[in-house]
Amino acid sequence: MSDQRHGPVDPASAAGWTDNQPRKGFFTDTSICIGCKACEVACKEWNGVPEDGLNLLGSSYDNTGALGASTWRHVAFIEQPANTAVSSAGPVSLGMPSSVLPGAGSDGESRTDFRWLMSSDVCKHCTSAACLDVCPTGSLFRTEFGTVVVQEDICNGCGYCVPACPFGVIDRRIGEQGTKNVGIAQKCTLCYDRLGAGQTPACAQACPTESIQYGDLDELRDRAHGRVEQLHAAGVPQARLYLDDPADGIGGGGALFLLLDEPEVYGLPPDPVATTRDLPQMWKNAGMAALGLLAAAAAAFAGGRR
């Protein structure tokens, strides 16, 4: 049995699923995203995710801001002059979309090559999922589809998963008493319920341009590579894949992205690392300790019967 925390091909079987499905995931091709936000609405509507605040952010057409407990799909909008690699200039990104004041140092006639990039972000369903690693209750679990899902009836709201996520995806829902699942860690489930019935996740089902594609991860990865080649041939050298490499810090994503610029331009960490990557030894020890505890408990039962 391989240890899924180190990037095996099939995390589901590592999690004890015997009749598991081919691993499922998303491929988000941002080169054809039109920023309509159908994914955001379809996700919320299907999953009953509450409204997340009525705030004008001034971040282009993005008034959602970031993924969070009540935002499981987030479309980023980036306004930039073309062919400008933001990452090669300026300070280190804090992982937020570029917020350079529009038009700074330019006049209208020089911005004919302006680009407006859009990208729908989502939980990456990491192969090495730190959130899952740190979850003490078993609420976060690896499904038979290889996805990572919170079980809201188990989560106790401890919040360990929140800082563990290298992407800042998962969060506890804050809200008034009575708000659905308040206090509980929340994130994209890749529509686990729909998958069980052979249906497409709500966001991918809605996406007008097929920017969000759902399917078997292996097939999506092939498709993603093909699309990059196609774009390169069509004169879009900036096209690149994100989270397609099983050797990266999260063992590769269950959600892949085709980007037209550096990840940080989109508010994505350039080199994400599972925060638990260096913990296997500690885990081993913890496992021994757990077994020890169990043995002690069994002894106590045995003793009690006496």
């Binding site: 589901a12 679990f141 188990i154 319920d193 019935a197 089902q205």
Partner: protein
Amino acid sequence: MAKGMRAVNVRQSVLSWPVVRQLTGGDPLGRGSAVTSARTEALQPRTVTADRVVKSICPYCAVGCGQRVFVKDEKVVQIEGDPDSPISRGRLCPKGSASEQLVNSPGRQTAMLYRRPYGTEWEPLDLETATDMIADRVLASRAATWQDVDDQGRKLRRTLGIAGLGGATLDNEENYLIKKLFTAMGAIQIENQARI
């Protein structure tokens, strides 16, 4: 529900304790199959549990995307794209995707309301009474503003005292009855968004 109860019962067996499943199954680290909860095991999408699926068309713009409306216990529980549609191929925009909320939104008005002349607040009003009041007012306004002929004695057969605006969001059948009734009433000022 029944399925959920079953799951709970199973769970009461010691064998279903996660820790036991963890040790006896293929998931010693308790990360997958060993830790599935009752809710998780009972999970079924409401697209599957719906009593029926009804074919519809998106009510927002004029692309005319196909919709599937899922109904459970006489309530709409989900609206999503219809993959059969050669127009939309199952896809919806954010507005189309919000259609279920359009139908079930708590902010939707579902009660007849009346504001009397010079009134400062809405008042409740019975729907039938309201329709009767409108019928009375239509006839009174029509009588008061009727133009049988113009100043040269040419037939006009109309009223300019009653007007309407709307129709672009309505069904053809509705517009047909509206135009037919207005025309028979002699009311010509019926307009809709197509003019705007």
